[in-house]
Symmetry: C2
Subunit: 452 residues, 2 copies
Amino acid sequence: MEKKEAITINGAGLVGSLLSVLLARRGFDVEVYDMRPDPTENQVWGGRSINLALSNRGWQALKKASVTEEVEKTAIPMKGRMMHSTSGELTFQPYGKSGQAIYSVSREGLNRLLVGKAKTMKNTHFYFSHKCSRVELDKQRLTFKDLLTEEKKKVHYDYLIGTDGAYSKVRLAMQRKNRFNYSQQFLEHGYKELRIPPNANGDFAMEPHALHIWPRKQFMLIALPNPDKSFTATLFLAYEGAQSFKKLQTDEQVSTFFKEEFPDTLELIPDLLEQFHRNPTPSLVTIRCSPWNYENALLMGDSSHAIVPFYGQGMNAGFEDCFLFDQLLEQSDIPLCELFDAFQANRKKDADAIADLALQNFIEMRDLVADPEFLLRKKIEARLNQLFPEKWLPLYSMVTFSHIPYSKALAIGKKQEAVMDRLMKMDEVRNNWQVMDFTGMSALDEYFGEEQ
Amino acid sequence: MEKKEAITINGAGLVGSLLSVLLARRGFDVEVYDMRPDPTENQVWGGRSINLALSNRGWQALKKASVTEEVEKTAIPMKGRMMHSTSGELTFQPYGKSGQAIYSVSREGLNRLLVGKAKTMKNTHFYFSHKCSRVELDKQRLTFKDLLTEEKKKVHYDYLIGTDGAYSKVRLAMQRKNRFNYSQQFLEHGYKELRIPPNANGDFAMEPHALHIWPRKQFMLIALPNPDKSFTATLFLAYEGAQSFKKLQTDEQVSTFFKEEFPDTLELIPDLLEQFHRNPTPSLVTIRCSPWNYENALLMGDSSHAIVPFYGQGMNAGFEDCFLFDQLLEQSDIPLCELFDAFQANRKKDADAIADLALQNFIEMRDLVADPEFLLRKKIEARLNQLFPEKWLPLYSMVTFSHIPYSKALAIGKKQEAVMDRLMKMDEVRNNWQVMDFTGMSALDEYFGEEQ
């Protein structure tokens, strides 16, 4: 392995730690800084939500880091959505074909695993408890405060990759440069996490192999399983308005709301009121910017494209960044600065597409999945996929179970929507979709013609 | 006039100075700060482009400030676009009906006039050469540096209105608050201003009552007349690419470019090369944000909605902000904070619409106006307006010569576009538009039906 340039990474979260493994494998000298303490030496690791849905794009990148076997040990497959109606009725909708699933993984556990893996490689160097206080792009210099010694350090970098999240310090320095396009858009909804403990038998309190959704049109509750047989439930609700966090101030307001909207959760969360008042109510932001690079600095993951969590693709998109960057390194021997440019020029449209898809999917999750018409549509789409596996891959499957670029998936998804709008108006289809062969239908034939 | 609250305005540019007049008229105690020296005492007043197109929305607001007579003395009516082809051929396209025009005014002159007007009112107080260095929204406090004495001053405000432009300090303070939506998008084009002096006879070197355009698809040159019989020409061109500022570095490159693209300007700008190298190449940005208010602070004009200049509506939109805010003050006696809220809740959609329209119009100006098909379309639209003056007002006229909210104009414009797409395909229309009465046509009847 020939000696290569030194790359400095700011942020040892999921994307930064995976990236450090991939870059070290290619022979780069990798220095990684993070303000948090070393997760391999600490059980509590700051950060955001507790569990995440890992899907194919993420797995593909983890494979390159040779950690999939280890991840599989605790990952819990979720084969579909389990919808909970107000009366407690359950409806299951599979995510894809038999055998396909998304996987609930612990953010903290996965991060610890990746940092641990990177630390076994001799050309990585980790600096934890180092808070980045200044980024000087033109001087290629970072300033850190060592939170343990209170010491200030100035560090030179040859190349810098900012994997420091939605509120990135590296991006902030780029924002001060001329002609940097930037947008931050907040949802009117915030979220609150609530833990559903194992039941009295020490087992999962609900079906573990599903992502649970309580769709209530303008808001929703979801729950993902954890390895300790608890679930992490998350309430997504507007901050203000008729039904909002603002209207959930007193014990009585919270109790009444859950009794009316999510009655089947009351016995699952015995300490609901305590958790509700104690846990914070963070906001949900979509961040877009361009360009992602400035001379020998590059943004990756949330720092360049933070998205809302409703497609379960935030981490997966960040991991795919790492995968694609690594692929570029493999296929090309152009200088790193040009590689940074090529990476962002190719990837930006896909980051924009998954940002749009994630926003759209909020409406699907909180509202449409409770609509029988929508569920029929999804069943017909699944049938089309079964009949024409090469020609009709539903949008959710393209995003979740394939490596089709997000922008292409979005474009195909729009065409499919137009086809489905036509099919859903046909009585023939509505009544016979389970037995008909869907041949000789102009709506479909036109679509198949275009896609070939 | 009863004594009212004190309002502090940061920024004495066009919007800030007009606003100070309107607020003082309503009895508010108005304090205005600006980093630049007093324009009424100085001939050189920093800021942006030299002249601007004033149209109906702007006039309406100036009327409230009783300054229209004074403005009319130097405003130069431009009745339409004068297109210059590469071979020097001229084509004139009127903006509206006979008698309608937009007016070229001097930014500096208008600003001086408005500050002068405000200073004659006893409840206004101006602090020039005061650079705002800090905005503390929760403490209701501003910090200024007096650029003449180098002294620092902390100033309390009861109410604050930020009219401090696209790079607003007040907005920057709002950006640090949670859940502030913000976007800055730069065009790939920059601009360069070039002065066309009066001709040898001391007269205008081209037709003065027109806005001159040299449309060249991906770029364009425009020119507006000034009271001293010069024109200010502006080249809009990409920073990078095949035809770009980057490719115009040497004397020879600049000369060749102008010779090929704008040959009729060569004798009009004798010192072209000197001006080209000396003058800066600023960027063009669209800024959107929300909310525009935070407790007792509000943004107005470019600080809340900076737009690109291609619809000639930046100043007009800012002046209309003042007009509408003043109208709210007149019609309502709710507390100012609630008024701030009502103002932004109602106005935001219109700011977004004019931002979109301005971006669209760049393509129209630099490309479409050179297309015979487009010019035919505009002529047919003018004919429809003549036949159905109440029912068909072309988009340009709605934006420029009416007070229809921008968002409504944009929506109607889209419907008109669909109608025109249909009409332009009919030979009957293409051949007979000058003589036919356009009755009994389903495309039009449907549109008229909807608009009534």
